[in-house]
Symmetry: C2
Subunit: 170 residues, 2 copies
Amino acid sequence: MNIQDTIRAIPDFPKPGILFRDISTMLLRPDAFAQAIDGMHEHFKDKGIDAVAGIESRGFIFAAPLALKMNIPFILIRKPGKLPAETVSAEYSLEYGTDSIQMHKDAVTPDMKVLLVDDLLATGGTMEAACRLVTTQNAAVAGIAFLIELDALNGREKLKDQDIFTLIHY
Amino acid sequence: MNIQDTIRAIPDFPKPGILFRDISTMLLRPDAFAQAIDGMHEHFKDKGIDAVAGIESRGFIFAAPLALKMNIPFILIRKPGKLPAETVSAEYSLEYGTDSIQMHKDAVTPDMKVLLVDDLLATGGTMEAACRLVTTQNAAVAGIAFLIELDALNGREKLKDQDIFTLIHY
């Protein structure tokens, strides 16, 4: 079974000219979903990872099972105003304006090696901000996992010097 | 290990007078997180469940590992405008106004027995809407799992006749 075959392409979503890669059809196939988690686990299992951080909300879908499989803490990276305790924030650029993501300050401890997880690498802005959340708390980004990478958008450029693992390239 | 001891109470979030139950500290404890998933699995494993549906975004944290553990499809229930293919919607009341959730029409098949999952049962409005998403597609709600139930808010009333399993009551 090829995971890529379970992902559906939807033209003109969320706006004209965009071909949206729909992972929801993959998630309906437990064999494909398990294969994705197993692939990420296989790549990072011997790399001394201390915690897995997932980016809201589709990153949670992969980060939560991966953290459980690795038997290590699962850290939430969320949209602003969602986390109730003291947070650290990082901004990133959108096509028009900026947005930001947050993490609880006490979610990481100094020198912790964190694996960051999201479903899709496009321009890399969100993930680059997530890296800053971790490093400003004196923890380290030990790796980054994506289900999908859109190669033409060069998001990897923004994340240089990182161990990036992607299951599917378009 | 008592899962409840790993959940942090934050006063006055998101507004004065609310005592917020913060699950992020529980997710940092892989033993507690695994125990939560195992508890839901134990309750529903022999009940003929065909698919697990999680409600964005904290529901994803529990629904994704549970679907993998049960080796059945994982269905996304999302906020409006996020799902790219043809959707069905259900509205629910907020303190002021209404909000809605959506599911892909082709995510469920007729007569499918669906287990709905979210992190918290408060007034039950969102979960009651999720039940309607499933039943309007001629599938059945075979059960509902929550990590936490706030008993004083009587959310269970809105979900009567359902097999509701909750790990922690406040």
